[in-house]
């Protein structure tokens, strides 16, 4: 059984996980792995617009003083 917190090895797809966890993964890839939007979208097999939306929301959530 696949761990829900990990990306699936076959397709690189994150499925069946909560939006919160998905947001954490996207943010980690952006912050610590220094991946850009197309790279994150490719790795997670997500539409680039969705990655963009998740990332910006997560940034504002983590750093509310910016806004």
């Amino acid at each position: 059984m696949k761990n829900q917190d990990q990306t699936s090895g076959d397709e690189g797809k994150i499925s069946g996980i909560s939006l919160k966890r998905k947001s954490e993964i996207v943010f980690t890839k952006w912050q610590t792995e220094k991946k850009n939007l197309p790279q994150i979208a490719d790795e997670l097999n997500l539409p680039i617009a969705e990655v963009q939306e998740i990332l910006t929301k997560e940034q504002k959530l983590r750093f509310p003083l910016f806004t």
């Binding site: 610590t32 220094k34 939007l37 197309p38 617009a49 963009q52 940034q59 910016f66």
Partner: protein
């Protein structure tokens, strides 16, 4: 029966200044003359009447007195030079001005989206807008590149808030990289020290 003349001193706050006037029995009798019996069947009317009659008495005091109030004269003192604090234009807290640039700083597509779309790459002190042209037509449409370019134009106006957000995002991303670099350097140093120790 013995009767004494009683002077009642009342305080009045008028236009932000504390004034006072004295009420004598003559005033009270005038007030009673002005007062009309109030029917209880009209709810709230007695309160309205009471206010009106008090105002009438005060007004008549002013009209009858030709001398200005001073140290030895009672009455209202109205300083017309004082600003009128309570007016129809200036009642309560001033309305909060909405930041018209919020659409650039906190909306669905804003400075955060632009920063992420160009991956924080800077050119000539601004985010590198040419990075947006590297997207495929489909991705460009999905990311709404025309709107991102409008936001980029706004950043070139010297918006302090945009600059702060860009700086902060770069620091957030850079801080982690710095820590990782230091950790790697420390690991390398320890390995070197170990090698030196083993060589002796």
């Amino acid at each position: 029966m013995r009767t004494d003349t009683v002077t009642v001193r009342m305080l009045s706050l008028s236009n932000g200044k504390l004034g006072y006037f004295c009420r004598t029995p003559a005033d009270e009798s005038r007030k009673r003359e002005n007062s009309e019996p109030v029917q209880i069947s009209q709810p709230g009317l007695h309160l309205k009447r009471n206010v009106e009659t008090r105002q009438d008495v005060a007004l008549s005091d002013l009209q009858e007195s030709n001398d200005l109030p001073g140290l030895n004269r009672s009455g209202f003192f109205i300083d017309s030079t004082w600003p009128l604090f309570v007016s129809s234009e200036n009642r309560g807290r001033p309305p909060v001005q909405k930041d018209t640039d919020d659409e650039f700083h906190d909306s669905d597509i804003d400075i955060f989206a632009l920063f992420n779309a160009v991956d924080g790459i800077m050119r000539n002190g601004f985010l590198d807008v040419s990075e947006l042209d590297k997207y495929s037509p489909a991705d460009a449409e999905a990311l709404n590149v025309p709107r991102l370019k409008e936001i980029w134009k706004h950043t070139t106006t010297g918006c302090d808030k945009c600059r702060d957000i860009i700086e902060a995002l770069q620091n957030v991303r850079g801080a982690v990289k710095d820590v990782a670099d230091i950790a790697e350097q420390n690991d390398g140093r320890e390995h070197t020290v170990d090698r030196i120790k083993h060589s002796f």
